[in-house]
């Protein structure tokens, strides 16, 4: 598949928005879905639907196999050692909550420290905050430099002998900064500290190799990765999944139950209580195949080109201030226009069919640090083209006109 043709694979672009073509520049929020994924959901429900794992009839057996096939596909895609290192959740937020809750229960005590960064999304902060309240732990934040970057140094500075886990984003959903995960993992492990990666923005855009990154936990959102809503993935090294307690309790995650004691199932069941998002997990296999077909190298290259092109165009616009200038950057640009509030920008762009996001992007810590109550953000997916950015540029001009800016 040629990456320049991918727009055709997404039925959403056959629709008009306010009578204009849809220019979707909000993929960091959620990506659009390729036809293969949508069709898979449709086919599963119309031809093959059953709950997994629990019944021995034909449909149930087929569904169970399909469900487990996705686990193997994900395992291979991210190069995990064992298929049981893949836990399905309802989203990345749940994946991080799962780790914070179970790791917190087992390993954190009063006075212990969890090290985050100022770039973290609320989903990689609030779950740790819960432990601050319940267990009296401390939360430290590695600080960004003037470029909106997190360096290895800024992490190292905040590590103490109380640091019990380090939790960082792979790719900032505001500045686009790509963090040196591999180095952070090395540093952390040299001090015996596990690391969790919030991979929401990394997974759809970067090559994922768990053996190379060597992180302990990696959280993924399906819906940002050309997959259905309601599915996420927690990758965790097997030793952690073996050692940590279960997160939610219910059907399917038990071994034996009686009135006094309960023993829990083996992996992968232990962390998958209740009926899971069967159809979504099964359809997510198509998302993985779709990404594999294009090839992550092609995706990285394509998005880098878009980033460079957009940076040049927006950079040439005097009224625009791009937020952050990280050394290693993914397909996300946040910006402000002097004299126009980001929400007004978003509304005006929307009238032309250009969908961007405005606000704090669930990163209030970062916005406080930058002294900005809100920013406007464009973010790329496989379906974006240079023409999309040309239209963005035109619509920004319109915006300046309306606000009487030069």
């Amino acid at each position: 598949m040629n990456v320049s043709d991918t727009k055709k694979e997404f039925p959403i672009f056959d629709n008009k928005v306010h009578n204009n073509d849809l220019i979707y520049l909000d993929s960091a929020n959620s990506s659009q879905k390729p036809r293969v994924v949508i069709d898979r959901i449709y086919d599963f429900y119309t031809k093959e639907f059953s709950n997994v794992g629990r019944s021995v009839h034909y449909l149930a057996i087929a569904a169970t196999n399909l469900y487990e096939n996705t686990r193997v596909s994900v395992q291979k895609y991210i190069n995990a050692l064992d298929k049981n290192e893949i836990v399905f959740t309802k989203g990345a937020t749940e994946a991080i909550n799962l780790v914070a809750n179970t790791f917190g229960q087992k390993y954190l005590e009063e006075g212990d420290e969890v090290l985050l960064t100022e770039l973290e999304h609320h989903s990689n902060y609030v779950p740790w905050h819960f432990l601050r309240k319940s267990k009296n732990i401390k939360i430290e934040f590695a600080e960004i430099n003037n470029d909106g970057d997190i360096t290895l140094d800024s992490i190292e500075k905040k590590i103490t002998n109380k640091t019990k886990i380090i939790c960082v984003t792979h790719l900032s959903n505001v500045t686009g900064a790509i963090l040196p995960i591999k180095d952070i993992a090395k540093l952390a492990h040299s001090k015996g500290i596990p690391i969790l990666i919030d991979g929401c923005q990394g997974a759809p855009h970067l090559k994922l190799d768990m053996q190379d990154l060597d992180c302990d936990f990696y959280a993924i959102s399906g819906h940002k990765m050309y997959g259905p809503t309601g599915i996420g993935i927690l990758y965790a090294k097997k030793k952690w999944l073996d050692e940590l307690p279960p997160y939610q309790g219910g059907g399917g995650m038990i071994k034996e139950v009686n009135k006094n004691v309960i023993s829990y199932g083996d992996l992968p069941n232990k962390y998958e209580a209740g009926t899971m998002a069967t159809a979504q997990v099964i359809a997510f296999n198509e998302s993985i195949k779709f990404l594999e077909k294009i090839g992550i190298d092609n995706i990285e290259k394509h998005e880098k080109e878009l980033l460079n092109y957009a940076t040049e165009i927006l950079g040439n616009n005097n009224s625009i201030n791009i937020v952050g200038n990280p050394k290693n950057k993914g397909g996300v640009i946040s910006f402000t226009i002097e004299g126009v509030h980001p929400h007004d920008i978003a509304t005006i762009l929307d009238e032309d069919g250009v969908a961007i996001r405005a606000g704090h992007h669930c990163c209030q810590i970062l916005h406080q640090k930058l002294g900005l109550p809100a920013t406007a953000r464009v973010s790329f997916g496989v379906y974006n083209t240079k023409e999309d950015i040309d239209q963005l540029d035109k619509s920004i001009e319109k915006c300046k006109n309306i606000f009487n800016l030069k």
């Binding site: 509030h341 929400h343 109550p373 009487n404």
Partner: protein, 154 residues
């Protein structure tokens, strides 16, 4: 074109140079408003005199053109009114934004109503209604002296 209705000159003017963007000395009523999704914030300060008349009103905060203009116009229009009149204006404005086509209160003069009607452009932008109403809800809360932060999310 709807955008022209939304961003009328008067809105852009008030948005850019909001009136009464300061903190009233010796205010005796105040309340904070917040929109958690977009981060818009407003803090309204009121000074009611012994006759329950608005001696001064002001606000602090940050937000988009719509929310700043709305707060600016609001504070301009209610200064000097009696508390009971203020409440009527507020509820008339909120009704207009929600469903009615015009303002029906007998307190504001015609040119004042025209000014206020400039905000009616948001009716075509459901997500922006909150921007226009945040300061008004906050004013109500200040009058009621309620301690709750107004949250236009719900």
């Amino acid at each position: 074109m709807n955008l022209k209705e939304l961003y009328q000159e008067i809105i852009l003017d008030h948005g850019k140079n909001p009136r009464n963007l300061r903190k009233t000395d010796n205010f005796n009523k105040d309340a904070k408003g917040y929109n958690p999704l977009c981060g818009d914030k407003v803090h309204v300060y009121l000074k009611l005199n012994e006759n329950k008349k608005v001696e001064d009103i002001s606000f602090e905060g940050s937000g988009c053109a719509i929310s700043m203009a709305s707060a600016s116009i609001m504070t301009d229009l209610v200064r000097g009114k009696e508390e009971i009149e203020v409440k009527e204006i507020v509820s008339d404005f909120l009704d207009m934004i929600k469903e009615k086509n015009e303002l029906s209160n007998k307190i504001l003069k015609d040119d004042e109503k025209t000014k206020l009607m400039c905000l009616s452009g948001v009716k075509k932008y459901p997500m922006r209604v909150k921007c226009a109403t945040l300061s008004w809800h906050t004013l109500t809360s200040a009058l009621e002296n309620s301690q709750i932060t107004i949250n236009t999310e719900n």
